[in-house]
Symmetry: C2
Subunit: 342 residues, 2 copies
């Protein structure tokens, strides 16, 4: 199974580490021999159609800052789009940073991979929150598999749970805490910190994304909400369809006041009656949705089986990498099933 | 798709109600036309190889107390085992009451159905906690599907979540609150009630099972733990392998003392280092596992993706019936996939 890896930051490197430690398992359990035939980061690329040496890839990235230094004497002149077009592979894994404005460069990488009949895995929320319906259509048209379980919940399989485990029932509505950074900040404010102090703490601990606005203005939660609404509720929506309020105006006094009533103020993303909302809300501490620290949570309200909540870490390199690996195994199993038809 | 329904109590009746309300959906979404060709309760049976009238079945049960009165002029002389042997059907649904001593009569119903090559769905914990490994072996030997998602978590798909959504990762250990009745009692004791008062309240509200010992002595939680250990961890264990302590000795003072520390006393079922334990334990109120009232919760500790918790109602007629329906849809989909092989 040949893989083109576009984007080699924390998740990408964690994914290759995971591959290394799982090589034997993957072969024994799934008959899978993954080979990375191309790897691209923001400064260069490395290509070997018989499979790059993962250990060397990790070392070069760590020591030289780019996989473009993989070969001592030659450097690759190909850009990601040329690689996607010209290098044979079963899967393109798109892991470039999230851009919620126009989804680029991830969007072009993904659409290009689909056009060249390559299956796609991504954890990049940008392309999906900008163009979910047309990406699904393009994937179907080209008969390829499109997997994105790491876009929501990091390693916590929120999308799979809703899609696979609830057959015969129906999701009436759902709501959740979809952003760990804001949840960390609000949890810290319960201890008496102001918003600014708590934000600083989150940045020091490395929880805040590169641009803090993504988290604190609710964009990240809204992007995940859009993905869930499209995929799980059959809606055709984008980021601008979300009624969104961030946490920058939440006051420590409000948090303390809620706390005295046994409640907490949380940034809740909800999909009810086809309305998408992200805003700070007071929720009971007894509600399973009310998790602390960087945890994420989602409660699905079902027609028959009542409320079901799933809780887990919503971010982290190795956690999100485990979602990419899960998607890869799914693609492998689907390819095998398809072959049996002929 | 022909169904033999053995046991027609709350879950059985809820299941037939669910079927009635879902008939159109089941056909449109899954191409499924379920027909109940035989229905048995503890006083009689009704048989119609072209499909019983579900509405009439529900009315007769309600008005006469047994489906044996389905036909005015003739009564069926067949017992469950004869029906399983002689009536053609794709699925036997076994819903008789749980008996944790020897698993009967459910165990005989299930093994008989397997021997006559009928797929089996059950929510009966008895047979599984007594003879899990041999039931799986028998199912495999006879090439039939054996589904039991309603045995753990009622309508909450705990088993499916662990089995389907965590591919590529590994469950290192798990623990949970698997019995809603004891959790209700312990929650009530936080309000100051004694164990006896809280038990009475649970009985008045209809939460306690027929024999209270099943719940309060930890047998029900232990049975679910055994099912999870066998199915999810590949262990070969039965009820006697669980180190089990119930909640009858928990004192209101201990509960209050824990509460002051921000903790709660919960009946925790755990599987760690291949050891199975059910006992009252002090857990932090901040731990996602710490749910209130009749809720159930399970936290899976994964090798890569960290702790993941799933929370939902662990009992209820319609909730558990939704698990039976889910199993039925799975069997249908598997039958279709198998046919494509030839």
């Amino acid at each position: 199974m040949r893989i083109i890896l576009i984007g080699y930051g924390i998740v990408g490197q964690s994914f290759t580490k995971l591959l290394l430690s799982k090589l034997v398992d993957l072969y024994n359990l799934y008959g899978m021999k993954p080979r990375i035939v191309a790897c691209v980061d923001n400064k260069g690329s490395a290509i070997d159609t018989s499979g790059l040496d993962i250990q060397r890839l990790l070392e070069i990235k760590k020591n030289k800052g780019t996989v473009g230094e993989y070969y001592r004497n030659k450097s690759s002149q190909l850009d990601p789009l040329q690689i996607i077009e010209n290098i044979d592979a079963e899967i393109v894994i798109e892991l470039t940073p999230t851009n919620l404005k126009d989804g680029e460069p991830g969007l072009s990488h993904i659409t290009s991979a689909m056009k060249y009949s390559k299956n796609v895995i991504t954890v990049n929320k940008g392309p999906l929150s900008v163009a979910f319906p047309s990406l699904i259509e393009l994937a179907n048209y080209n008969g390829i598999m499109f997997k994105f379980s790491g876009t929501v919940g990091g390693g916590t399989p929120i999308l799979e749970f809703a899609k696979r485990c609830l057959k015969g029932d129906r999701i009436v509505s759902f709501k959740g805490i979809l952003n760990g950074t804001t949840n960390f900040i609000l949890s810290k404010m319960e201890e008496g910190l102001t918003f600014k102090e708590a934000l600083k703490d989150a940045q020091v601990k490395g929880y805040a994304e590169t641009v803090p606005s993504l988290d604190i203005d609710g964009f990240d939660a809204a992007a995940k909400l859009v993905i869930m609404a499209n995929w799980l509720m059959g809606m055709k929506v984008a980021l601008e369809d979300v009624n969104r309020i961030g946490i920058t105006q939440v006051k420590t006094q409000e948090v303390s006041k809620a706390l005295k009533k046994g409640n907490a103020i949380k940034l809740i993303a909800s999909c009810e009656n086809k309305k998408l909302v992200v805003k700070p809300m007071e929720v009971s501490k007894l509600d399973p949705i009310c998790v602390n620290g960087t945890l994420n949570s989602v409660t699905f309200s079902l027609e028959y089986a009542g409320n079901q909540t799933i809780i887990g870490r919503g971010a982290g390199g190795i956690e999100t990498a485990s979602a990419v690996l899960r998607d890869m195994i799914e693609i492998r199993e689907n390819i095998i099933n398809e072959k049996n038809w002929f």
